[in-house]
Symmetry: C2
């Protein structure tokens, strides 16, 4: 028995074949065709799936389920996309039934944040933990929730949208057209914005560069990181107060920030949560770039 | 088969005997002895339990489990209180095993907010709904979470502490020694405080009186209620963003406020949540004063 995992991101798709224990047997990437329609993309997805099914058969490990991590909201129970965060044309595509019909193998689908949570829970920093919150801080901020040893999808499939909880209704404008969401302060894009505003720089200075400058002791860069820790702590404390998780896992680009971010984040979080939760741990994700495809495999393995 | 439910509040205990479907067969109250120790209280609890067990036997409906709703944090898995919100002396009392040993009937325990959530979920405004948030707004603010058709207790038994999530770290001082918690704005006590501050009144004007004045069109009272709706909407939107529930149930004294509160609350909530959640419903609890004891019965019926 084996599983196929597919991480359908914006710029590329990552594929994996995994054995019954979820170990990756092989993995590869394909660039997404620019300006390709959803139909064209599904044709190329199916070509790769076909190859992986043959590979499974050759290894005498036939594929028993396919999991797809999708970059945008989905209706997991229907196996349909709702829209893509990256390109148009993915509104309400019943991708699971299309692929199921073609290969007669069950297909399961979830959004990339839930798959990230699944990956870290089953194979990463959250192994064996029944209550956790996963927050992906990259260009934007997404998240996933595990409670009582189950992924929480919510009534409309949008549980874990921690990037768009409002910290301050009078805060900066957010991409979601409201103001003061966690993302409008602490996403990669907004860390860069705040640094530009503080320093008066006109050119784009990347988040990575800001962290490098902070590591060298630059005052402005350090101030921006401390402020980021404060905003993240506030946002995380809200999830902690509502869910009482055992740990918080930070994935995405920010997971690599090290003590420069995680030390002030722990300190700030202890101030925001109720006293009996002051020991709550924020840990970086263990799985790096492959988190998405591992999450797709985990989804295929642990249908819920 | 029947169940005993006990709501151990501050001023009194409420007892119920319920049949296999959870219908209350009989219920009564006893005042809590003032200055009684935990031991004394348990003696009087046991006397009432003994009577109810006999009653069950007489009805040929023997009691198969006892549920206790406790006014304070508990360790539900150990069946121990952590402390009482009302009196000293209830630190780490293994109340379940004490009663179990005496009567040889299983006893289960949870805090009053979780029992309130259970009551509304199994017998009130949340029947048949798998994802809901229950918020009790009385003197203080507590809450409980149901996700994936299960009560979420969290890793330390304090999930649903929505009263103590921080809306504004620079807000008013809270009883928990932090600042700007939802409770520090929107609990009954703080609605009264804000009204006093706005009007300059020196005497205590009760929440009920403030709502009565608003119903008569008093500008200051209306302003305070609209402000309360705004704070509650902000707090509720955080739970909605993280959990994506089907409904939000407001229990406690505020559940009786009617359209005066619920209309501006719905309007404000639609502004705070992500657009696809704008239709989320806030509904008043259906069970009134008996919510606690019904929750204790629900707990006994649906051990999880």
């Amino acid at each position: 028995m084996s599983y196929i995992g597919i991480d359908k991101g914006g710029a590329r798709h990552t594929y994996a074949l995994a054995n019954a224990s979820g170990e990756i047997l092989l993995t590869f990437q394909r660039n997404t065709p620019r300006d390709g329609s959803a139909q064209q993309e599904i044709v190329s997805l199916c070509a790769e799936i076909s190859g992986l099914i043959s590979e499974g058969a050759t290894r005498q490990d036939p594929v028993s389920r396919i999991g797809i991590s999708f970059g945008g909201p989905v209706d997991a129970s229907k196996g349909e996309t709702i829209m893509s965060h990256h390109v148009k044309g993915w509104e309400h595509i019943p991708i699971c039934s299309i692929i199921e019909k073609k290969f007669n193998i069950p297909v399961v689908l979830d959004n990339d944040a839930n798959c990230g949570a699944l990956a870290e829970w089953k194979f990463g920093a959250g192994v064996g933990i029944d209550d956790l919150v996963y927050i992906n801080v990259g260009t934007g901020i997404g998240g996933g929730v595990v409670a009582n040893g189950q992924l929480v999808r919510g009534a409309h499939g949008v549980a874990g949208e921690i990037g768009h909880i409002v910290l301050n209704p009078n805060g900066p404008a957010c991409t979601c057209e409201r103001r003061g969401c966690l993302e409008s302060y602490a996403s990669g894009r907004n860390i860069e914005r705040r640094y530009r505003e503080l320093t008066g720089a006109h050119e784009l200075i990347s988040g990575q560069e800001i962290f490098a400058r902070a590591a060298e002791g630059e005052k402005e860069a350090l101030a921006i990181i401390w402020e980021t820790a404060e905003y993240l702590a506030h946002g995380i404390s809200l999830a902690v107060g509502i869910l009482d998780p055992d740990i918080i896992i930070i994935g995405g680009g920010l997971s690599e920030a090290g003590p420069l971010l995680f030390d002030p984040l722990d300190e700030a979080l202890a101030r925001y949560v109720i006293p009996q939760m002051a020991g709550i741990k924020v840990v970086p994700a263990k799985l790096g770039y492959e988190c998405g495809v591992i999450g797709a495999v985990a989804l295929a393995m642990h249908v819920q």
